[in-house]
């Protein structure tokens, strides 16, 4: 018979009862598999030791006290949390997605439709597999989405016109990285308002189409709405020597969201419980409490890495594609989001960002 997979060998290490008799018999008489099993066992033990954080058990009564205080203090998270981890949780960063929504109209991926419902001005990267992003359901399956005020992205002649039409201060790039040349072209996008109205009927139909049963709809949810306002925005685009866009500097009024009818968390939690959303994705999104400013930025972790930095003292997030071709830095300041992105390395986009005037 063929050798069992490495996954079967791994399970033999710590859950042998889950492995079939045939596989166990094979492994016990196969030198190749026994060697593979030994390596698997060694790796598992090393990693187990490395992951062991040690320390005493948590103080349950104290933890319960803290949790109930936190729940009573909704929507703010538990007040006992240390400052350091608060800052890590809240590190305000901006979505390339949000900028994309503002400057280029509603995104194409269903994930983009989810974002506006989730929050307002700051963003935190959340790692997803690309497959999970594709699996996110389209909001239109759960209600009506009405977009008023088309972004109407258009080219304008110069920075002064861009500033006048967007009402934003257009960031001035003082020094161009190697390989980026010439004067930029300017683009402006108008404010966009999107309203999502939850429809129990529509959600039930979508669930039925997926062969699922809809969870009970919380009282008052049917017909309640969430409104997103984003933009206006402005972008300047520099070409590289090869003629493709090499550097983009964008700025936009950060999205704000408001809900009508039921509390925002009720709508969010219900949407997260609907069939079709992968469990691990829902679990991630649900940990974003409605704290007045954190928008989850779905980052395909298999393609993009994120890291934290600052731009002139403002917390910022760096995004880099794993193939090293593209980098971006995004940050939120005083209600505007700014992104510097390009076919550059992270240090180059950061230098441009920090030298903006």
């Amino acid at each position: 018979m063929r050798h069992p997979t490495e996954g079967v060998l791994r399970r033999l290490v710590d859950e042998p009862a889950g492995v079939s008799d045939a596989d166990r018999t094979h492994v016990s008489g196969c030198a190749t598999c026994l060697a593979g099993l030994a390596t698997a066992r060694e790796d598992a033990a090393t990693v187990h030791a490395a992951l062991d954080a040690g320390g005493p058990d948590a103080d349950l009564p104290a933890a319960w006290q803290r949790l109930t205080t936190g729940l009573a203090d909704t929507p703010r998270p538990a007040p006992a949390r240390t400052r350091r981890s608060r800052d890590l949780f809240r590190r305000p960063v901006v979505a390339t997605v949000a900028v994309g929504v503002v400057l280029a109209g509603a995104g194409t991926a269903a994930a983009n439709d989810w974002l506006p419902v989730f929050r307002t001005e700051a963003v935190q990267p959340v790692a997803f597999d690309t497959a999970d992003l594709i699996a996110l359901p389209d909001l239109t399956g759960y209600g009506d989405v009405v977009v008023s005020g088309e972004p109407d992205v258009r080219a304008v002649d110069d920075a002064a016109t861009a500033a006048a039409e967007s009402g934003l201060t257009v960031p001035e790039v003082t020094e161009l990285p190697d390989g980026i040349t010439g004067s930029p072209t300017y683009q402006v996008g108008d404010q966009v308002t999107a309203t999502f109205t939850y429809s129990a009927d529509r959600a039930a139909a979508s669930a039925a189409a997926a062969g699922e049963v809809l969870p009970p709809t919380p009282a008052g949810l049917d017909g309640s709405a969430v409104q997103l306002v984003a933009g206006p925005g402005v972008a300047q685009v520099f070409e590289s020597r090869t003629g493709v866009p090499g550097l983009v500097v964008g700025r936009a009024v950060a999205p704000t969201a408001s809900s009508s009818g039921v509390p925002f968390d009720t709508l969010r939690d219900h949407l997260l419980s609907l069939p079709g959303l992968p469990d691990d994705v829902a679990a991630q999104l649900a940990t974003f409490t409605a704290d007045g400013g954190t928008l989850p930025l779905p980052v395909p972790a298999d393609r993009v890495t994120t890291s934290a930095t600052d731009v002139d003292g403002v917390p910022a997030t760096v995004l880099e594609t794993r193939d090293g071709l593209l980098s971006a830095v995004v940050w939120v300041s005083e209600g505007t989001v700014t992104v510097v992105a390009g076919s550059l390395d992270a240090d180059e986009v950061l230098e441009v960002a920090r030298e903006l005037r």
Binding site: G7, G18, W64, P77, P263, S273, D279, S307
Partner: protein, 169 residues
């Protein structure tokens, strides 16, 4: 929004699962204090959620792993700096060498975890936190057969990472 309902089974689920949720986050973060912060965050979200009671254990574990992984990913540069600082400190204060070494190893584990594909990292941490193959499979919507393969790949990659760093000193 104090009118947001808190689910009725919260106390029971808390008693049953809190230690494990802290354990999941602690394996990712290497710090029980930070892990408790994550556990609080996750239970706050759970308390207001409508996650079915039968799925609570898996949901909480996955949420803790994701939240903790996102924390170390967002702090990756800090981790790199910690490694550099730890290496420097080693030559300065021999009497704290052991503590420094531990900190350095922990930083390497964090860096290694943050480089794994998310699903591999979560499956790895859940299995090492004591969830059965079936529980990991259910929580991550995977087939039980693929859990072993996913965990094995994560272990192999993480071990290589640890060895690579250790031998480059």
């Amino acid at each position: 929004m104090t009118d947001t309902a808190v689910r009725g089974d919260l106390a029971e689920v808390f008693r049953r699962d809190y230690q494990r949720v802290v354990g999941v986050a602690a394996r990712v973060l290497g710090s029980r204090d930070e892990a408790e912060d994550v556990a609080q965050e996750v239970f706050l979200a759970f308390g207001r959620s409508t996650v079915p009671a039968g799925e609570a254990t898996g949901w909480l574990a996955v949420a803790a792993a994701h939240t903790a992984l996102n924390l170390i990913r967002s702090g990756r540069r800090r981790t790199s700096r910690e490694v550099a600082v730890a290496a420097t400190a080693d030559t300065v204060a021999p009497d704290v060498a052991e503590a420094v070494l531990t900190a350095e190893e922990r930083a390497r584990v964090r860096a290694g975890l943050s480089r794994l594909p998310q699903k591999q990292a979560v499956a790895l941490v859940l299995r090492h936190s004591g969830l059965s193959y079936a529980e990991v499979a259910a929580a991550l919507d995977m087939s039980p057969g693929s859990v072993g393969t996913t965990v094995r790949r994560a272990e192999s990659a993480l071990r290589k990472e640890l060895i690579r760093h250790a031998s480059s000193d």
